[in-house]
């Protein structure tokens, strides 16, 4: 690699850290500038004047904003997000406890969405109007018309209440009962994956249809190459740009955005943590979760950026030339 490449990479890293810094300022200011006194969020309406003074003192709310920002940032750099206003618990501990649930949900939903949408998208593009294409179009329309919370409740009604084959909700750790753990994940993962399935299938089908009309694919067909080879080796990789880009964003969104599904199925993840924190104005927890979500987004975008050249040599060539 030449100097230009190194410069570009250094510039990317610098941009990453600059954005990260701006995110910390924005996250801090965002919640600090919300109207109202944080003491009202910590204490009940009938709190005494002594309690209000004690709360302001305990949480450093009397300090100037810059000092509170530096204290907050200093703590984060040491892995300490402070203590929850409401529960008094360490925010880092709460996040560490909750994150695995959300990550597992998001990753499984992503795997399910990709596992369903790639073959369906590819085949629908290859054989428009086929049974698979018509069935997928129908399912896409039906899913688009059904909000996630409705789908979740519908799945529960059918599979748990009527058929009694799956539990309604709740969480059992893998270490306690692996089979029960998986059973309790099935409905939430389907609910979460459904929307992404629709998106991925439509994206991939569109891109594949365009690719299948390109000269090199037509030429491969003319040479009598097997369909499997044409679809996978000659078309899929080239048609995956949009899918990879969106997947990167989606995984970030899923991790930070399993809120609805966690609430519907009573799963103890980041989503329910942040809902509770927002409802009770637990600023310090909200700040931590928003900051971590932003970091995941930044990282995923950078990874997506890096993965382009791996998918298509032409991009690699352009970037290194």
């Amino acid at each position: 690699m030449n100097v230009v490449v190194w410069r570009r990479r250094a510039s990317s890293v610098a941009r990453f850290f600059l954005l990260l810094f701006l995110v910390t300022v924005a996250v801090f200011l965002l919640l600090d500038l919300i109207p109202g006194n944080p003491v009202d969020a910590i204490l009940p309406p009938d709190a005494t004047a002594e309690q209000r003074a004690a709360a302001a003192e305990q949480y450093g709310l009397n300090d100037p904003m810059w000092q509170r920002y530096l204290d907050w940032l200093g703590g984060i750099l040491q892995g300490d997000f402070g203590r929850s206003f409401q529960t008094g618990l360490s925010v880092s501990d709460q996040i560490l406890e909750r994150a695995p649930v959300s990550i597992e949900l998001a990753v499984l939903a992503m795997i399910v969405a990709l596992a369903v949408s790639i073959p369906v998208g590819v085949w629908s593009a290859y054989r428009p109007g086929s049974v698979v294409d018509r069935a997928s179009t129908f399912m896409i329309s039906a899913t688009l018309a059904t909000p996630a919370f409705v789908l979740g409740i519908l799945l529960v009604y059918v599979f748990a209440v009527k058929l009694g084959v799956l539990p309604v909700l709740g969480w059992v750790p893998f270490s306690e009962d692996p089979a029960e753990h998986v059973k309790r994940l099935i409905l939430p993962v389907i609910t979460l994956a459904a929307g992404e399935c629709v998106l991925f299938t439509r994206l991939l089908k569109g891109d594949m249809m365009a690719t299948l009309q390109q000269d090199h694919v037509l030429s491969a067909r003319a040479r009598g190459l097997p369909t499997r080879s044409i679809l996978t080796r000659h078309s899929l990789r080239q048609s995956s740009f949009s899918l990879v880009t969106v997947s990167g964003v989606v995984i970030g969104r899923l991790i930070g955005g399993t809120v609805l599904v966690e609430a519907i199925f009573s799963l103890p993840g980041m989503g329910t943590l942040v809902i509770t924190a927002i409802q009770s104005r637990d600023y310090i927890v909200v700040q931590a979760v928003v900051l971590l979500s932003a970091i995941v987004y930044l990282l995923m975008n950078t990874l997506v950026d890096v993965s382009y050249p791996l998918l298509d040599p032409r991009v690699r060539k352009v970037r290194t030339s």
Partner: protein, 502 residues
């Protein structure tokens, strides 16, 4: 003496059938998670705390009297000097004694501003001292025969001082009490698991081996969980769900009537809303029957502050103005003439993101828009913001509520000096009557005083409620021996008396 002593024993509650059986796991679902199991914070989370700590007293819904629980009795002859008598030989689950020192330690901690305890207001005007290991003397600055309410919830939960000291900053998740159950595991926002406390003082109790309390936010999902057998008891405030589940059969419905309800609150400190004529105009345009028909089918229309079957209601003393649009317009026109205005704008701070309450806000807006010249604007905000705006008295009108089994809560909400009087409501007749409810130990006098309060609140309408709310428990009919508790969020139960007829 008002607060009687009692064995605190099992009275079986509603629906008990046959001899109680020991064993089994009961699963109960509630709608919100609690933030803390610190005994100083339990006023916000009766459901989670009562199994661990028990309560010093309880209010018997059927007998309408206070009954001793962890305490044997709480008595006074003058309303100022109270004697709390504890039971002999009670121990926390860590083996330390449940004694007067422990009670005083917990109450001192609640009173300390640094604890930031939500129930600190219950300690105002109170002092206490240890008399002997089983006796605490409590002194109230003013006579207050309603004080036992504080020992059913606000000051009711006593934790092991040794455990509190040892837990330090993690006290919110390290509860050690002497109640019927011990906490085994708490997965926040999912479920809390409890098992029987074998050293619990009530002999043979609890019947259950295990108690599981799940958090399921959506009303529909809790019902689904009940129908599928995943939970045994469902918490609810919805009358329509009670009717639906009752018609399906196989379930027992338990009801706790709550005082007050959700409604439209006026800020009397606001220069516009301070005008009584304007408020009366709006009250005359208000139609609770329309709201209930549309949003809460099955709930009866509200015509006075307290529910029709309340013993504290005398309709001769006052009712909400009946819906009368001509009268509303007349009063409003009169307001315009007096103030020299040609129109008026009133803002209503209401909930965003809660469909039923959004619909209610829109209905109220349409009712108010029938008054020509009145522009009634909605300002939807999230629940936390609404609560903050209410606390800061930063509103003209707002969606608010007072819900409790505890009649003394009316003092906090409607007395001129009440700590929860966000409306800045001040009515000397109400103040005097509320003071009587605390000062008097004569049931007839107290009843008359509350009737006066209800009459005045209905005439003035500082909080114009559209629903009389009822706390419900929907229980699979296998569940027996439920002894109800009223809480600020609805109904709950003393689970040590529950058993499973499997």
């Amino acid at each position: 003496m008002l607060a009687g002593c009692g064995g605190g024993g099992s009275d079986g509650g509603g629906g008990a059938a046959g001899e109680p059986q020991k064993g089994g796991t009961l699963t109960y679902a509630v709608n919100v998670e609690t933030v803390s199991l610190d005994p100083a914070f339990c006023t916000l989370s009766f459901d989670r705390c009562a199994p661990i700590y028990g309560t010093l007293m309880r209010y018997d819904v059927d007998k309408q009297q206070f009954v001793g629980q962890m305490a044997e009795s709480f008595e006074s002859t003058d309303g100022k000097s109270w004697t709390l008598k504890l039971r002999e030989g009670v121990e926390f689950s860590d083996g330390t004694p449940f004694d007067a020192e422990a009670v005083v330690y917990n109450w001192d901690r609640i009173k300390d501003p640094k604890t930031l305890a939500p129930s600190a207001r219950y300690t105002e005007g109170l002092s206490w001292k240890v008399v002997d290991p089983l006796t605490v003397a409590v002194t109230s600055a003013e006579p207050n025969f309603q004080l036992p309410w504080a020992l059913t919830q606000g000051l009711s939960t006593i934790g092991s001082p040794k455990a509190i000291e040892a837990a330090g900053e993690d006290v919110s998740s390290s509860p050690v009490g002497a109640g019927p159950f011990v906490l085994d595991k708490w997965t926040r926002n999912s479920q809390a698991e409890y098992s029987r406390n074998d050293s619990y003082f009530e002999e043979g109790l609890p019947y259950l081996d295990k108690l599981v309390i799940k958090v399921i936010g959506a009303d529909d999902q809790r019902l689904n969980a009940l129908r599928s057998g995943e939970i045994d008891v469902d918490w609810s405030l919805l009358t329509k769900d009670a009717k639906a589940i009752e018609s399906e059969g196989g379930y027992d419905i338990y009801r706790v009537p709550l005082n007050g309800g959700t409604g439209l609150q006026f800020n009397l400190k606001d220069p516009v809303m301070a005008d009584e004529g304007l408020r009366q105009a709006m009250l005359s345009a208000f139609d609770s029957a329309q709201i209930n028909n549309a949003v809460y089918p099955g709930d009866e229309p509200v015509d006075a502050f307290l529910r029709p079957d309340s013993p504290y209601r005398d309709d001769e003393l006052g009712m909400f103005p009946e819906k009368d649009l001509d009268e509303a317009q007349r009063l409003f026109d009169d307001y315009l003439e007096r103030t020299g205005k040609t129109s008026e704008t009133v803002t209503f701070v209401c909930y965003a993101g809660i469909p039923a309450l959004e619909q209610v806000a829109q209905l109220i807006q349409s009712q108010m828009s029938k008054i020509e010249g009145l522009d009634f604007k909605l300002e939807p905000v999230d629940g936390a913001t609404l609560s903050q705006r209410s606390t800061a008295r930063d509103f003209q009108t707002i969606m608010g509520a007072t819900l409790s089994q505890d009649m003394d809560r009316l003092y906090a909400v409607f007395h001129t000096d009440g700590p929860l009087n966000v409306m800045s409501y001040s009515n000397p007749t109400v103040d005097a009557a509320l003071e009587t409810t605390r000062r008097s130990n004569e049931p007839g006098e107290v009843e008359k005083a509350y009737q006066t309060v209800n009459g005045e609140l209905s005439k003035d309408g500082p909080l114009r409620n559209w629903r009389y709310q009822t706390g419900h428990l929907f229980a699979n009919d296998m569940v027996q021996g439920i002894v109800l508790a009223g809480t600020s969020s609805g109904a709950s139960a003393y689970w040590q008396y529950a058993w499973l007829n499997e």
